[in-house]
Symmetry: C2
Subunit: 260 residues, 2 copies
């Protein structure tokens, strides 16, 4: 447990795994702003969405990867990490949860598949303000300099003594040097997605197997979308919520007589 009681407790997690450069850059960007504790997966968990581990038990081990910052690696999903952090490591809710910096985009519909954003959403469900960060660069050697500036600006802006506990932001950062980065735009989720396909192959025993592949398609021309902002070298910030009720459709369905 962090010792300095005056500083806010910042929980940091991710989905790429605890050793990834992205989480190291996130820790470095904010470590003077609070008492940072890292709880992250011990293996890659990209695309895990909001998965939780029900059928098997979880393990967690302390790791020494971030200097004097307390850090744990768990065998769970990103969502499991948040649950374990609150219940078994911090024994309280942190003041803020940060997730990332993801190696790869989580804009548009990808928020739903993303382990990075699902960890942030889990924190939000538990009443912890939370922010997920993703850089549009999958490579291990990605340049996180612009990302660190965005992280620093956003965390400084929102880390207040009385934070909005429903704050949940999906932040994506374009591939850009700090000079090329145009600014930060508040956006909505674009109607854009991967059109999936499968690469069909034959194993040495003559049986087929399939690799998921896909191509990104944008159906949304809106200039208020995350995809537009990123294309124009802005970082995008989409406020997110977890009430999945479609109130518009609910209104339309009210006329159906099968409902009591």
């Amino acid at each position: 447990m962090p010792k300095n009681k005056e500083k806010p407790i910042i929980l940091i997690t991710n989905d790429d795994d605890v050793t990834s450069p992205g989480i190291k850059n996130l820790v470095e960007a904010v470590k003077d702003l609070g008492n940072v504790v890292v709880v992250a997966p011990d293996r890659p968990q990209s695309g895990m969405g909001h998965a939780i581990t029900i059928g098997s038990p979880l393990r967690m081990n302390k790791v020494n990867l971030f200097g004097d910052i307390e850090a744990w690696a768990t065998s769970g999903t990103p969502v499991d990490c948040v649950k374990l952090a609150v219940d078994k490591i911090l024994f309280r809710k942190p003041d803020l949860c940060l997730s990332g910096i993801n190696h790869g985009a989580n804009h548009s519909i990808n928020v739903i598949y993303s382990g990075t954003m699902s960890a942030a959403m889990e924190a939000s469900i538990e009443g912890i303000p939370s922010i997920g960060f993703s850089l549009l660069d999958y490579s291990y050697e990605a340049d996180f300099r612009a990302s660190r500036i965005v992280v620093r600006n956003i965390v400084t802006e929102f880390l207040k003594p009385k934070m909005n506990k429903h704050l949940l932001l999906n932040v994506n950062i374009p591939i850009a040097t700090p000079d090329e980065l145009k600014g930060i735009k508040l956006c909505r989720q674009a109607n854009a997605k991967y059109e999936e396909d499968f690469d069909e192959r034959m194993d040495p025993h003559g049986k087929k197997y399939y690799w998921l592949t896909g191509e990104f398609v944008n159906f949304d021309k809106g200039k208020d979308t995350d995809v537009w902002a990123l294309k124009h070298k802005y970082a995008s910030v989409v406020p997110v919520h977890y009430d999945l009720t479609n109130y518009t459709l609910k209104k339309q369905l009210e006329k159906h007589k099968i409902f009591s």
Copy 2:
């Protein structure tokens, strides 16, 4: 591929696995309404949320479990099943996707963790009208009679030649005999969740491990919620969407000067 071109193609999946009584009951309830094709996981995938399989390839095998109905078991998550069905089995979008009948509740926030609902949501993202069904009974021997009535009523109501391709419904059914079932209510997602805890144990080698447990807590007294309907022996129907943008929060954040 189904042969009767006049009947709609109904894709059926679940998260409990292809051999579960829930999916068998779903198939039985609708098999005369269209050309049914089953594509479901070959192992339990509860709690998988919107997980997809990126790091390993997928397998699929034909199974003979539903009489003369074409059925496949895949090594993937429920979301993978929908993708494989569209791209590698049907080679087209089905007219309707049904998921379930899940053994266990998927009301309130559980829609986010649910493999059953994530499969339905994946179909919806791909422009396929879809409905997830869950019975509030985890047991293998659950009584699906009331569920089959609900399934039948809802599918008959919404299976039209020109369906709303954005139709995405989360249907939960209470534990009830057909006589006890009061009706079907159109609802919103309740603000209710599991308050998680972990059962901490020691393995034979003296190392700790953790089982996820939890207690259900309802913070929402609304009579228009799924939790209220289910408690009063109604089946609940919540229209769902996948635009996670929080427009209310977006409006509030517009005053922040960090945004361009």
